[in-house]
């Protein structure tokens, strides 16, 4: 029987799942509800400061990247669960999208000045 390379994707899925389970609800509330309603004092300055700091950059790439890998991996499985056949093409598309998003996040955090 051929060895599956699921462990790679499952590890990313797991890391993303853990991060989104711990931080997801709070982050969604902060950036999606508190921020637009003006409840976050000095939002731009503080967001900018986070994006300038090396740990902040790491956190941004980790959150965006791992959330994407978790979400895309599970979405790939959801398509299968709905009875739609998923082949290697779909697998590459979903995980490739997550990888692309992570790469864009990396480029952006390095571009912050």
């Amino acid at each position: 029987m051929k060895r599956s390379n699921k462990p790679i994707f499952w590890s990313l899925f797991g890391a993303g799942g853990m991060l989104s389970a711990l931080c997801g609800p709070a982050l969604i509330f902060i950036t999606g509800i508190a921020l637009p309603l003006g409840w976050v004092p000095r939002a731009y300055e503080r967001a900018h400061a986070i994006a300038l700091h090396p740990l902040g950059k790491l956190a941004l790439v980790a959150v965006i990247g791992l959330f994407l890998f978790h979400g895309c991996h599970r979405m790939y499985h959801c398509v299968h669960d709905f009875g739609i056949h998923v082949g290697p093409g779909m697998k590459a598309a979903f995980h490739g999208f997550a990888a692309l998003g992570t790469a864009v996040a990396l480029v952006l955090v390095l571009a912050v000045s």
């Binding site: 997801g24 969604i28 637009p36 959801c78």
Partner: protein
């Protein structure tokens, strides 16, 4: 042997257990969507304060607020189910299942409180 194979069409609608499973799984759509919203926000941040302010204004639109409220509920459900299920994925450790679940949910509350305190304080 003339065996009969039954169809799997609509399988998840036949049982509440399966429905809740599908809801749990579909939370991933909102995890992905939110990550993309953050990515956009990061892009606006790179573009400067005016772009960021414009993004902040767009977030205040009713559609965005509704999306984030739904995302909050479903990702919250993801958090809950993640830690409820975690004991099944761990190797045999000296902690009983309920301790793992309680610890996990406790961590969610603690991390959330820390993030909220930092952002809103």
């Amino acid at each position: 042997m003339n065996t009969y194979k039954r169809s799997m069409a609509g399988w998840w609608q036949r049982n509440p257990f399966y429905r809740w499973y599908m809801l749990r799984e579909l939370s991933c759509v909102f995890v992905t969507a939110y990550a993309l919203v953050l990515l956009l926000g990061l892009y606006r941040l790179v573009q400067g304060p005016e772009a960021f302010a414009a993004w902040q204004a767009a977030l205040a639109m009713p559609g965005s607020l509704v999306f984030h409220l739904v995302a909050l509920v479903l990702v919250g459900y993801h958090s809950w189910t993640w830690f409820k299920i975690m004991p099944k994925t761990l190797p045999r450790i000296s902690l009983p299942d309920w301790a793992v679940v309680t610890g996990g949910i406790g961590a969610v509350i603690a991390v959330s409180a820390a993030l909220l305190w930092t952002a809103l304080g």
